[in-house]
């Protein structure tokens, strides 16, 4: 239990009093002497330490069965109170609401983005799924497709997932071959490592030249696929090479054929590292696609961020950032679900 050993049975007044006094003194000094403008970072640091000390003190006084809920409360309560402070600071004009609109405004903007249809470039955030039954009955399948095409989230999601899958499968395959075969590894390793460090967004112009429609989905999906491919290939190779020799020897001693060796020893042995490569690749895919949509897209969450920055509707820009975060969290959760399915032995 973190923090439970400290302060048990100690003098209560000082354990509470000192951090509380320092916290109040810091806040008061900040306002009294106008320190916030210049020394806000120092005041924040002192304040944070005091809050941590107070929270630990509080936890050590709780009955054991309340400590679990308390910790979960901290995990939820701390970010919520940050949002509350942001709201208050922006409301009081200490934070410029034009650049840092209060969370309440961002929430409203997110709601507006969700329910409104942008007539100017014929798009919406989710593709207005509530219209789906009506559109399908009137226009059939084509109507549903039109709704999907107008969705920014769907545009980003399909590029990320499509590119990720197209890149990750060959990545695992090539990585396995590189891990297993020394000749292939020697031939490819230097090249792969060189391309690995190249920011893949830098080759986007080349990809636009390669595809017949430079402004279509092709180059966007390709740049995500290439980013994922190298990350996954290199970590898969490391995963195969990192398998403990004793498992390979056990396989050999029990007469495993080459295929059995691959199926029963090498593949499961490399999986944990393969999956950490997949997680990295997924995060990178999201970075790359947002960057690409900044530059060259009329659909997608990255386009939304950039568009609302250009027209200076910052609450909607922040709302689009929230959508990107939600996409990242959702996709990571999906991958973790797959991971638990594929590697049941690592569940606990």
């Amino acid at each position: 239990m973190p923090g439970s050993a400290r302060g048990a049975g100690g003098p209560a007044a000082t354990a509470w009093g000192l951090p509380l006094a320092v916290l109040l003194a810091t806040l008061a000094a900040g306002f009294a002497f106008g320190l916030w403008a210049t020394a806000w970072w120092a005041l924040l640091a002192i304040g944070f330490v005091c809050v941590v000390l107070l929270a630990q003190e509080l936890e050590s006084r709780l009955a054991l069965r309340w400590r679990g809920p308390f910790q979960r409360g901290l995990a939820l309560g701390f970010p919520l109170s940050l949002l509350l402070i942001w709201e208050l600071l922006a409301g009081a004009g200490i934070l410029n609401p034009r650049w840092f609109p209060p969370p309440s405004q961002i929430a409203v903007a997110l709601w507006e983005l969700t329910v409104t249809f942008d007539r100017f470039n014929r798009s919406s955030l989710l593709g207005r799924p509530w219209l789906l039954p009506q559109v399908v009955s009137e226009q059939g399948w084509a109507g549903a497709q039109a709704l999907v095409r107008e969705s920014h989230v769907w545009a980003t999601l399909s590029r990320v997932l499509g590119g990720f899958l197209i890149g990750a499968f060959p990545g695992v395959l090539i990585g396995m071959v590189m891990g297993l075969n020394r000749t292939v590894r020697m031939m490819l390793d230097a090249t792969m490592s060189a391309i690995y460090v190249l920011p893949k967004i830098a080759i986007f112009p080349i990809l636009m030249l390669v595809f017949p429609n430079p402004f279509g989905e092709g180059p966007k999906i390709a740049v995500v696929a290439i980013s994922a491919f190298f990350l996954v290939a290199i970590s898969t190779m490391a995963g195969v090479q990192g398998i403990d020799k004793v498992y390979l020897e056990a396989g050999r001693n029990f007469g495993a054929s080459r295929w059995q060796m691959f199926r029963h020893v090498i593949l499961p042995g490399a999986l944990p590292i393969v999956f950490s490569g997949l997680r990295l690749a997924l995060g990178t895919a999201l970075i790359v696609i947002v960057a690409v949509e900044f530059v060259r897209a009329d659909r997608g969450v990255g386009f939304l961020i950039y568009y609302y920055w250009q027209v200076l509707v910052t609450p909607r820009m922040y709302a689009a950032l929230v959508v990107v975060m939600a996409l990242g969290v959702g996709l990571t959760a999906l991958l973790q679900w797959v991971e638990r399915r594929v590697m049941p032995w690592r569940r606990n």
Binding site: V246, N253, F254, S257, H264, P268
Partner: protein
């Protein structure tokens, strides 16, 4: 009784950064069918190397090392119980124990029934569907022993299998191992650091010299079977461990001096 394992002037040399290193030289040994033979020697004397050659994980660079095959060509020659257990973390206890049979193409029903029988014998019935990460060290090594025995090899090779366990767990497993062996009387080659363990388990104890490894002395252990741990309190046991230690002491000193 005929010789099951034969080594004649076996030699093993490794190429290392510092040049050629001889792990085994003029190594002669015969292990009879059904014998429990223990191999002791200082660290780095090549006892594990010899076991690896028998397991088919390494090759002798000179002389001859072989296991005389039995009448049934389908019966595997030798399986290893590794020091680090080497049970697959990604397989349940059941699938670990059935591994050898699966590799040999035994059908699912039959191999799982056989595996289940061995899991019962090593008292892991409750843990059939557990993964190794959920087991203690002693239980993992039971899985490893069951995996080797379920494959029914002609020779069982054990490479310091209990070395990583605490003293009490080791004592319990030594007794269990003897009980299992009494049922089948398989040929066993058992490499160990522990003199007590070697005398307690073996029919003979072979003491090896520091490297290059070769046979220094062979000590016959004529303690009555079946044995249990109470045999360790007898004067005969003390005399035998004393004799092994007398043969081993100078070799250990020499090995330590060379490493320093």
């Amino acid at each position: 009784m005929s010789a099951k394992i034969v080594a004649r002037s076996a030699e093993k040399r490794f190429q290392t950064r510092a040049g050629w290193m001889t792990a085994l030289r003029d190594f002669d040994l015969e292990v009879a069918e059904g014998e429990f033979l223990c191999l002791v020697g200082p660290s780095g004397c090549g006892k594990s190397t010899f076991l690896r050659i028998l397991a088919g994980l390494d090759h002798a660079t000179g002389g001859e090392v072989r296991i005389n095959p039995g009448p049934d060509p389908r019966q595997p020659l030798a399986n290893v119980v590794f020091q680090e257990y080497a049970v697959f973390p990604w397989k349940t206890v059941l699938h670990n124990v059935a591994f050898g049979l699966e590799m040999r193409g035994v059908g699912r029903k039959e191999r799982e029934a056989t595996a289940q029988r061995w899991i019962d014998k090593v008292a892991l019935t409750r843990f059939v569907d557990y993964y190794p990460a959920q087991l203690s060290g002693g239980m993992k090594q039971r899985v490893s022993i069951a995996r080797a025995l379920a494959n029914d090899p002609q020779v069982l090779l054990m490479d310091e299998p209990l070395g990583a366990l605490d003293a009490q767990t080791r004592a319990v497993l030594q007794e269990e191992l003897l009980q299992l062996w009494e049922e089948s009387r398989k040929t066993v080659l058992y490499v160990t650091h522990s003199i007590d363990e070697a005398v307690f388990l073996g029919d003979r104890v072979v003491v090896m010299t520091a490297h290059p490894g070769t046979v220094k002395t062979v000590i016959d252990v004529e303690l009555p079977r079946p044995r249990d741990l109470s045999v360790m309190a007898t004067p005969e046991f003390a005399a035998l461990t004393g004799a092994v230690w007398d043969a081993l002491r100078d070799e250990v000193r020499r090995a330590m001096a060379e490493q320093a």
